[in-house]
């Protein structure tokens, strides 16, 4: 086999491996709400706009996300009260303090309240089904209700698959036992000030 054809073969293999890796990475970044549902959503319909005139947007598809405040189970449905947060390009709720208010996701059937618990982040899309009264301390308010068709509960940061050996703070700021500038250096006899 000539040198050039061998090099071409290696190059093609590298490109196909890179494409495979890219597909795997991009697959992990997929939006949690299906494309068909997202296409039916008018992004200009925000929570403040809905609160001003809820009847105008009845039965329209909307997509919101945020942090769960409470989950309530009823005989035929589960209500999830959420503090709205802006969604990024991948549908992930922003973790900052800005919010446009609260709303309620309604899902048919039983959702485990210990899983859909206070503080978890959630993104959902579905039809706007009016408003219902809610209370924050002694203040009454009208909360938009969304009959959610697709719902995504985001993983908690604490539930990472890493052990304490992979914890970046376990060995201090210089990395783990096999890092170039960490203990690995000392373990193999290099002076620690390197």
């Amino acid at each position: 086999m000539s040198f050039l054809s061998k090099r071409n073969r290696v190059f093609k293999k590298s490109v196909s491996t890179f494409c495979f890796v890219l597909l795997v990475i991009l697959g992990g970044c997929a939006h949690p709400i299906s494309e068909n549902l997202r296409k039916s959503i008018d992004p200009s319909v925000s929570l403040p706009v809905i609160k001003q005139n809820p009847n105008q947007f009845a039965n329209q598809n909307v997509m919101f996300g945020g942090v769960i405040v409470a989950t309530r189970n009823f005989p035929d449905k589960t209500e999830i009260e959420v503090i709205q947060k802006r969604l990024d390009h991948f549908g992930y709720p922003n973790r900052g303090d800005e919010t446009e208010g609260r709303f309620v996701f309604v899902k048919q059937g039983f959702l485990e309240p210990e899983i859909y618990s206070k503080g978890r982040y959630v993104t959902g899309a579905g039809k706007l089904a009016g408003t219902q009264s809610g209370k924050v301390d002694s203040r009454e308010m009208q909360l938009p209700v969304i009959e959610v068709a697709e719902l995504r509960l985001w993983e908690e940061y604490s539930k990472t698959p890493y052990s304490s050996y992979a914890n970046p703070y376990f060995y201090g700021p210089y990395g783990g036992p096999f890092s170039y500038y960490g203990r690995g250096f000392r373990r193999f006899g290099y002076p620690y000030w390197w």
Partner: protein, 162 residues
């Protein structure tokens, strides 16, 4: 000398893979019971011995009873925290609960006998819990150094030089 070290390493692996439920108890498990079917139609499986795991919700020390929600088990029979569950169940113990080990949020794997069902309130509903009498159980401690889910991960890095 070389074979001694090989044996030492192999034995370390063996100890770390020790079963959490004893072989004698594992053999009593009715392997033809599907957990999905069990939660759908529990009355059909009363008296069966099952292997199940989950997360503790509430402890009832007076009645030596726990309420839990089911979670799938990994290869080591440790309950997964993957936000999926088939439903809730009660675990009844013959002896007093290990109060220092068993707390809300703790993962538990057990072999037990299905005794029936019991309705208890969950918010605005009357939830039909499975009732399982524990034969043998294992409490998973949090933050073990080896307590992680192995998996395949891909990373992208950027490097440069000045």
């Amino acid at each position: 000398m070389k074979s001694f070290f090989v044996l030492l390493v192999l034995s370390a692996f063996c100890f770390s893979c020790a079963p959490v439920i004893s072989n004698a108890t594992s053999q009593k498990v009715d392997k033809d019971v599907s957990l999905k079917e069990l939660f759908k139609t529990p009355d059909k499986f009363v008296g069966k011995t099952i292997l199940i795991g989950g997360i503790v919700i509430q402890i009832d020390s007076d009645n030596n009873r726990l309420s839990m929600f089911q979670a799938d088990l990994d290869l080591r029979l440790q309950p997964l925290e993957n936000d999926e569950t088939l439903g809730r169940f009660l675990v009844v113990f013959d002896n007093s609960l290990e109060k220092d080990k068993i707390k809300k949020g703790v993962k538990l794997t057990l072999v037990g006998k299905l005794e029936g069902t019991k309705k208890l309130p969950v918010h605005q509903i009357s939830y039909n819990y499975l009732v399982i009498r524990a034969v043998e159980y294992h409490v998973w401690s949090k933050n073990q150094p080896w307590d992680f889910q192995p998996g395949f991960r891909v990373g992208v890095g950027v490097s440069g030089s000045i």
